[in-house]
């Protein structure tokens, strides 16, 4: 379905370009594989002094799109096409604030940043241009693609690992449930993608904000979250004992600070 949609959009792009200019000129575009890049999942030291290592980082996402800044002609053309196919999100500031959508990899994906295997998510289609950002939707894991007992079914993300401080080790699991349809806007993606571009687009989770010193786990006091002192910490929605920690982590997780897309030739 997603492929059909892309083909339709690109076909319509060629048609509109032809109609507008008189000569049949197809907008330059390129297909690039999107790779799950786990190199950004590194041990970090949090603001509270915990040394955190992540062993599991699985996130359900959908509809990865790529944006260019400004109102370039080709971008406007793309928007006309997109408007014809999908109602534009006008609701509030933030939506598409990174620019005009001129590239996409549609579909539902379970991104596993914890394995180091760096699998391919799929092939994105982009109109040639200078890109500034990427967006995607935080999705929910589906029982259709996961074992029914998987904690990610109906949830957005699960992180597991260890946090150490002052000789104590805590084994943690954090489960996140993002609001339905929650869009992540403005993932940094600075790349000039030419008509002859090759290589890969690498979608990274960064446990440490590459632009600031914050970490994804800042503010989590694992010792205080270990109420029974057994060294096991579980943070998930619906648990009043860890509600503040859950809300704080979910907010961090849902910011663009901890994600990047890079084009590597």
């Amino acid at each position: 379905m997603a492929e059909l949609r892309t083909i339709y959009i690109l076909g319509a792009t060629a048609l509109l370009t032809s109609s507008a200019c008189g000569d049949p000129v197809e907008a330059p575009r390129v297909e690039l594989p999107v790779i799950v890049d786990s190199s950004g999942v590194v041990p970090v030291t949090t603001d509270l002094g915990y040394s955190v290592e992540v062993t599991e980082a699985r996130v359900a996402i959908s509809d990865l799109v790529f944006t260019v800044a400004g109102e370039a002609d080709v971008a406007s053309l793309w928007r006309r096409l997109s408007d014809a196919l999908v109602p534009r999100a006008w609701a509030h500031p933030g939506h598409f604030s990174g620019g005009e959508v001129t590239g996409e990899l549609r579909g539902d994906f379970l991104v596993d940043w914890g394995t180091g295997n760096n699998p391919e998510l799929g092939r994105a289609t982009l109109i040639a241009g200078t890109y500034t950002a990427a967006n995607f939707i935080f999705d929910r894991g589906s029982s259709g693609s996961l074992d029914a007992s998987d904690v990610l079914v109906g949830r957005t993300a699960v992180f597991s690992g260890t946090a150490q401080k002052d000789g104590q080790t805590f084994n943690f699991t954090i489960v996140v449930e993002s609001p339905e349809g929650r869009v992540l806007i403005g993932v940094p993606f600075e790349a000039s993608v030419g008509e002859a571009a090759a290589g890969t687009l690498r979608l990274r989770l960064e446990t440490q904000d590459p632009f600031e010193s914050d970490t994804l786990f800042d503010g989590l006091d694992f010792a205080s979250l270990d109420g029974d002192g057994d060294g096991q910490v579980r943070v998930e929605p619906g648990s009043a004992e860890v509600e503040d920690a859950y809300n704080a982590f979910r907010r961090e997780f849902q910011t663009h600070d901890y994600y990047t897309v890079r084009h590597e030739e």
């Binding site: 500031p93 933030g94 349809g181 869009v183 403005g186 849902q254």
Partner: protein, 240 residues
């Protein structure tokens, strides 16, 4: 000194105007601003997600640079949307514009002074906040029909309930007050700005940027989402 070409062009324009073939007529646009029932009458408990009822005693907005059909209105004094109009809205300006259907209108919401009370289970909280950052609303999602020799209408609609949305980005946010009530740390019944600045976001979703970390900053951001047109029409908001 005019060239022959200029003279011919001018003559053609005058003839065309005289014959009425291409020259547009003129009409007027009545610009109003309306806070809907939520601001004029209050937000009843059943419309809130947590049982609080909110009443605005003052919701004064400063609307500047209203532009319809390329014609800009003169700025006017602040208008208190809490004063009832029975649906008519408050007059802002009347603009003389070419007849036709106009889009791409916009305006600036320069300031909002918002005061009121919230009640639940016998508990009353009051608030009196000023939001003075300008939000520029452009490319508003509506069209204004102006008949030749007649009037069209352009309504700036202010959605007061957006202050109580629990998300800056969700299409279907909850409308809540409890977190704001809880920010009244000294328990004096007044939710002060300083208390909001010291209050965490709880379960609120401030969006993707990560630069909002207290309830006052959240309300300031939310105040940029108040402006609409002709009811539910959206515009593209941006900070000036």
């Amino acid at each position: 000194m005019r060239t022959p070409t200029q003279i011919l062009c001018t003559a053609s324009f005058v003839l065309a105007s005289a014959c009425g073939d291409d020259a547009p007529g003129l009409g007027a646009v009545n610009v109003t601003v309306y806070g809907e029932e939520f601001i004029e009458d209050g937000i009843p408990a059943e419309e809130m997600g947590d049982g609080w009822a909110v009443t605005f005693t003052r919701f004064a907005v400063t609307i500047d640079e209203v532009t319809v059909a390329g014609v800009r209105a003169a700025n006017v004094a602040p208008i208190d949307l809490a004063v009832g109009t029975s649906g008519a809205g408050h007059p802002v300006a009347t603009l003389d514009v070419p007849s036709g259907t106009h889009s791409g209108s916009g305006y600036i919401l320069s300031r909002a002074e918002v005061a009121g009370t919230a009640n639940k289970d016998g508990v009353t909280k009051t608030f009196d906040w000023v939001f003075d950052q300008k939000t520029v609303y452009t490319a508003c999602e509506t069209s204004t029909d102006v008949p030749d020799g007649g009037d069209g209408n352009f309504e700036i609609t202010v959605h007061g309930d957006h202050f109580f949305f629990d998300s800056l980005v969700s299409e279907e946010p909850q409308v809540l007050f409890q977190a704001l009530a809880d920010a009244d740390q000294d328990g004096d019944g007044v939710i002060a700005r300083s208390e909001l600045e010291g209050a965490g976001l709880g379960a609120y979703d401030p969006g993707s940027s990560g630069d909002i970390d207290n309830l006052w900053a959240y309300l300031v951001a939310q105040s940029s989402n108040l402006g609409h047109v002709d009811g539910e029409g959206h515009c593209e908001p941006s900070a000036e």
